[in-house]
């Protein structure tokens, strides 16, 4: 191993950096700049926070001031919605109205002399498909099935034919606007046991007419 003999006469403090950027100057400057940068960033962050906080306070104040008016408007909106719904329902009812009058007026021409109507009954609509658990603005069923039942009696040799003719007439094209389906329910033509019938033979009959659907639209 060769002996090392570096008798260096330069002092530590005389050694200079050849780099164009002096690190011992640059590092403190960078650190100061970084500190100032972070300080400025925090300052602007604080300013932003203060501004947002002010805005929020202002917003809360305005909200407080506007709250009664807003609630009134909300209430009015609700009422308006309700009324509008009511109007809509009425409009729907109006549009879904079925013309019974004309049909009933024209039925007598198909009634033979041996037929007597004893009852003309509009059957109640079926109940809603689901239970209403809360109030709904508007109809729960948009479609409603209606029907009416003609009850009467007939007599004579062609009593059943007369009833049949009436049924056919009700099934005819003249009534398709109202009557969707007309039929005699099972066992609906049967002898009438009436003590006041003075031994005459009467048959009781029923014709059920299912009307077109009422569409509440």
């Amino acid at each position: 191993m060769t002996q090392k003999l570096h008798l260096n006469l330069i002092n530590e403090n005389e050694i200079l950096s050849s780099g164009p950027v002096r690190m011992h100057v640059l590092i403190p400057v960078l650190m100061i700049a970084l500190t100032i940068g972070v300080g400025l960033w925090w300052f602007f962050l604080y300013l932003n926070y203060s501004f947002v906080k002010g805005m929020n306070t202002q917003k809360i104040e305005i909200n407080k001031q506007l709250q009664p008016g807003y609630q009134a408007v909300q209430e009015l909106n609700k009422q308006e919605k309700k009324l509008q719904s009511l109007i809509n329902q009425l409009q729907s009812y109006k549009q879904s109205k079925l013309g019974y009058g004309e049909v009933f007026n024209s039925i007598p021409q198909h009634v033979m002399p041996n037929i007597q109507f004893t009852k003309l009954e509009l059957l109640p609509p079926p109940p809603p498909l689901f239970a209403k658990d809360k109030e709904v603005d508007g109809p729960t069923n948009t479609v409603e099935q209606t029907a009416f039942l003609i009850t009467g009696r007939t007599t004579g040799a062609n009593a059943v034919d007369s009833v049949e003719k009436l049924l056919v007439a009700l099934q005819g094209d003249a009534y398709t606007n109202l009557i969707r389906r007309a039929h005699i329910p099972l066992n609906a033509i049967r002898p009438e046991n009436n003590p006041r019938s003075e031994n005459k033979e009467f048959l009781r009959f029923e014709i059920k007419c299912e009307c077109q659907f009422r569409r509440f639209e």
Binding site: T2, L5, L7, L9, S17, S18, G19, M23
Partner: protein, 335 residues
């Protein structure tokens, strides 16, 4: 946590490439100031540039003169490494082997001293230089430009480093005496087991050889230089009175080392001779009785001549780079 920017700077500096430039100032050579640039790549020292530059390298002799001087040095592009090592040749830059630390401090100026114990049985080697001079040299390469000074050594200690870093001590640890021949003086260094155990200076340099020829033959210095390399002319008669005292000193030093270390010295080397080598060799054999081996300062350094633009007189003037090479290698090893 304490942040010491100087430490950070130092660590950062040590992580950089090992690339240094070295120059010998104050040598007063006709060719100029010898400058070499070396680097280390894969543990191999490489020569990047070598040549002579010319600028005012006169050293101040008083603190007042140093304070007044505002000269700055700059090197050509090929020599602009980041770190510079400076070898100083000056009557004020002294290298001594002495146990008396105060001995070298003869002037009234404040002296800067660095010592190294090379062998426990021998006095330490002390390098001294006036404080104002070292400070002045350190500031000649300004901050923020390449290079800046990292090392200031005396030319003698730099030359010794040239030998220590060279191939001879790397390959063997035989006792050896090395003669470093400078312009106006020579230094004799004895090595035992590759440790420097003796250092002496003798006031005979290669200039004295030329003066002797000029005086004897009444010719000018250039002619003397030509004759030194002329195989036809025999200048032994003129050179004997000059070289014999120097070689006697070498012989005395060899005798001293032989007796102190109980060994025989068979290896004698010389640095710094660019002309008249045959006279040195022949006369050495006559006086000491052993062969004198001429060492090349660029020994052990990878030198790609095809890629480098070396001066035309590079081969002839190579011995003049001894101190610069030694200064560069010492700094390279410290990085």
């Amino acid at each position: 946590m304490n942040l010491n920017f100087k430490d950070i700077l130092k660590k950062r500096g040590s992580a950089g490439p090992k690339d240094v430039v070295a120059l010998e100032i104050g040598a007063d050579l006709a060719q100029g100031i010898p400058v070499v640039r070396l680097d280390i790549a894969k543990k191999q020292t490489r020569l990047l540039a070598a040549g002579f530059v010319k600028f005012d390298d006169r050293l101040p002799t008083t603190p007042e003169e140093a304070a007044k001087s505002d000269v700055y040095w700059s090197l050509p592009k090929q020599f602009q490494a980041s770190k510079a090592a400076i070898a100083v040749t000056s009557p004020f830059a002294i290298l001594r082997q002495t146990s008396d630390v105060g001995e070298a401090d003869k002037s009234s100026a404040k002296m800067r001293k660095v010592s190294a114990v090379t062998d426990r049985q021998h006095p330490p080697l002390i390098a001294t230089m006036p404080d104002f001079m070292a400070a002045w040299i350190a500031a000649r390469f300004p901050q923020g430009r390449r290079p800046t000074t990292r090392s200031i050594q005396t030319s003698m200690s730099a030359a010794i480093n040239c030998f220590c870093s060279g191939p001879v001590p790397q390959s063997s640890d035989n006792p050896a005496i090395v003669v470093f021949c400078f312009k106006s003086y020579s230094a004799i260094a004895a090595f035992f087991e590759n440790r420097l155990i003796l250092y002496r200076e003798h006031p005979i340099g290669y200039q004295n050889i030329r003066y002797a020829i000029c005086r004897e033959m009444r010719i000018d210095s250039e002619m003397a230089e030509t004759l030194l390399n002329d195989p036809v002319v025999d200048l032994s008669a003129a050179l004997t009175p000059v070289l014999t005292p120097l070689f006697r000193q070498v012989d005395i030093s060899a005798d001293y080392v032989s007796r102190r270390k109980n060994c025989e010295i068979n290896h004698f080397h010389i640095y710094g001779i660019s002309s008249g080598i045959k006279y040195w060799s022949n006369m050495f054999v006559k006086v000491v009785g052993k062969p004198l081996n001429h060492l090349h300062p660029f020994g052990g350094i990878l030198c790609n001549r095809k890629k480098l633009s070396l001066p035309e007189s590079f081969d002839k003037d190579a011995p003049l780079f001894t101190s610069a090479i030694g200064a560069a290698r010492a700094l390279l090893e410290d990085l």
